[in-house]
Symmetry: C2
Subunit: 356 residues, 2 copies
């Protein structure tokens, strides 16, 4: 039996998984987006040993090493596999690289009909190193047959992957090249989305088979779209991915995160996921009102808090949990990844304030 | 009697002003954010003659020259005074400059308590060059005592001005310095906002007295805030500005634009403005549903359309006006300013498609 069908078997701390049920919890579980990251000196040390960022992602043992680092410092209730959403475009042969001090680049972006016609859905086995990382991360979490906290696997959403694949890099102008294709040749963009949907579905399923106890879809750029565009070019494909995964792996919770798409919380809540991640530009109470009480919410503390001070963090957590029921279907987290300038001692302050 | 109390006296084309009433119009009026801008070769020529960007803003005759340029090319139903929102921080002595190929910089940003304590609200007469530009723009629009189209005056919102004043420049990280002040020392940010509110109110009133027929509040960065933060740190001060202006100048329509704050259309609609500008990441039909039928909407075509092709523009305009009643309380416009890479012939295509 795969771990996917019994996600909480042999897990010591199941608080995060219980937040997907109707149970009232003694306190909200907490984990943090990019909890293994550059703000930690020990992460930077491992990263230096590994070489480039993708060398780190390609090494299951280094992935497991950085996975454990925040768990040793902070009382966290979950861990996320160390990887990157651009593994898929990389497997498609688009020539991924990370320059020093720069974001990702793709040497072969999909900016014309010919390159899109030539796009092939890679065999999921080309991403075996990620599944190996999942398995190694799970082993690292496990002692005497008991896994300490749940392990989360993830993928970029079809639209977000398409943004990088068409643009060839990150963007300072809301992925104008991708959106121009959407306006002029929506059929081309939809071909890219269809390929991404197919591989992302298998990619997530394989991560569950390798040991992930929950899965998360990162739609980092769905928020550059209007609500109608979001429905057509982002949510529709995520809805299909979720339906397929739920048919194959009914017991693996799925978390959906479309950053900047608060306009569509109601539609997201109806997309079949178990939880919605809420960004820091939203209010949890409004997200709850829009999404309803039958879905779990995750988020939405501002990563900027981790550059302030203990008193500001404690006050903010107190105010947030006054206006929002944090003990029912809620997983505390940030609204976006920890930034490199976050102070490790303030991460502790946030985790402690949430647990208090 | 000031022009502010009779905004449509002696204006040949009043279509835009009629869009603030309940009248059903034969077609939507149209003007474009940053219609006088770098995409036009004749603008670049004037800009080169003027010297720096602020030299252009400080010259009423050059302001009038660039104001007329898009009106000579396109059948537009309104013009906006040529100026910049950073005139107010400049008048406050914060040391505004525009480097070559760079955005604005303030030499003396407000990043500590002492500099905020020293902040003084400037006398509105220090902005006389803007009121002179308004008057000169109005003269340029007027022939034989008849003004061709309405003239719009504008100001940055208190929050958006504060973003620049605290950050000292634009931002790639959602104005983290300003938002950190908001989290740690909201009292300091509120002092900056209070100063901005006071001067922005007088600044807008004086533009109306100088001849502006409508006024617009640009809250370019309100969208970096959560809904609760937006209410407290942005909308509250705009609501007070609007109330004061409505008491002084009851017949001058006011347009409110908070980019990226679609979550708060209902609250904005209740803020006392005559119109809401809708950004390109919103849908007009959803904005209408949230804001109600008693307020005018303006916007929200994607500036990116002006880098596509005629067919895409015609199709998009057709689709937009199928799902939205464009003849009642609506002013066609872009959802954000025209970008320098816009093609002038596509601006014509957009204006013609809207008028068709």
């Amino acid at each position: 039996m795969s771990s996917g069908s019994t996600p909480s078997a042999n897990i010591a701390n199941t608080l995060m998984l219980r937040a997907f049920t109707d149970e009232r919890l003694p306190r909200p579980p907490v984990w943090l987006l990019r909890q293994a990251g550059r703000y930690l000196p020990e992460y930077r040390a491992t990263r230096a040993k590994a070489g480039g960022f993708m060398d780190l992602c390609r090494s299951p043992s280094f992935c497991a090493e950085v996975l454990l680092q925040p768990l040793e410092r902070y009382k966290l209730d979950a861990a996320i596999v160390f990887s990157d959403i651009l593994t898929i475009p990389d497997a498609m042969g688009l020539g991924l690289s990370f320059g020093v001090g720069e974001g990702p680049k793709l040497a072969h972006p999909l900016q014309d009909e010919a390159s899109i016609a030539a796009l092939r859905v890679p065999d999921v086995s080309s991403l075996q190193y990620v599944f190996d990382a999942v398995a190694e991360c799970k082993r690292a979490l496990t002692q005497n047959g008991v896994q300490s906290v749940p392990l989360i696997g993830f993928s970029g959403s079809p639209f977000t992957l398409a943004c990088y694949m068409v643009e060839g890099a990150g963007s300072q102008n809301d992925f104008a090249t991708t959106r121009r294709m959407m306006l002029q040749r929506p059929d081309l963009l939809e071909r890219v989305l269809a390929a991404n949907e197919q591989i992302a579905t298998d990619y997530l399923a394989q991560q569950a088979h390798a040991g992930a106890n929950a899965l998360m879809l990162f739609d980092s750029w769905g928020g550059v779209l209007s609500p109608a565009q979001y429905e057509r070019f982002s949510l529709a494909s995520m809805r299909r991915i979720i339906a397929t995964l739920k048919a194959r792996l009914p017991n693996v919770p799925i978390i959906l995160f479309s950053k900047g798409a608060a306009h569509s919380f109601a539609a997201m809540a109806a997309a079949g996921a178990d939880a919605l991640h809420v960004d820091w530009q939203s209010d949890l109470s409004l997200a709850r009102a829009a999404a309803g009480k039958q879905i779990t919410l995750q988020g939405n503390f501002d990563p900027l808090l981790l550059t302030t001070d203990v008193e500001t963090i404690q006050r903010t957590v107190g105010e947030t949990f006054t206006s929002f029921d944090a003990k029912h279907r809620y997983i505390a987290n940030l609204g976006h990844g920890i930034t490199p300038d976050a102070k490790p001692e303030l991460v502790a302050a946030l985790v402690n304030a949430i647990r208090a």
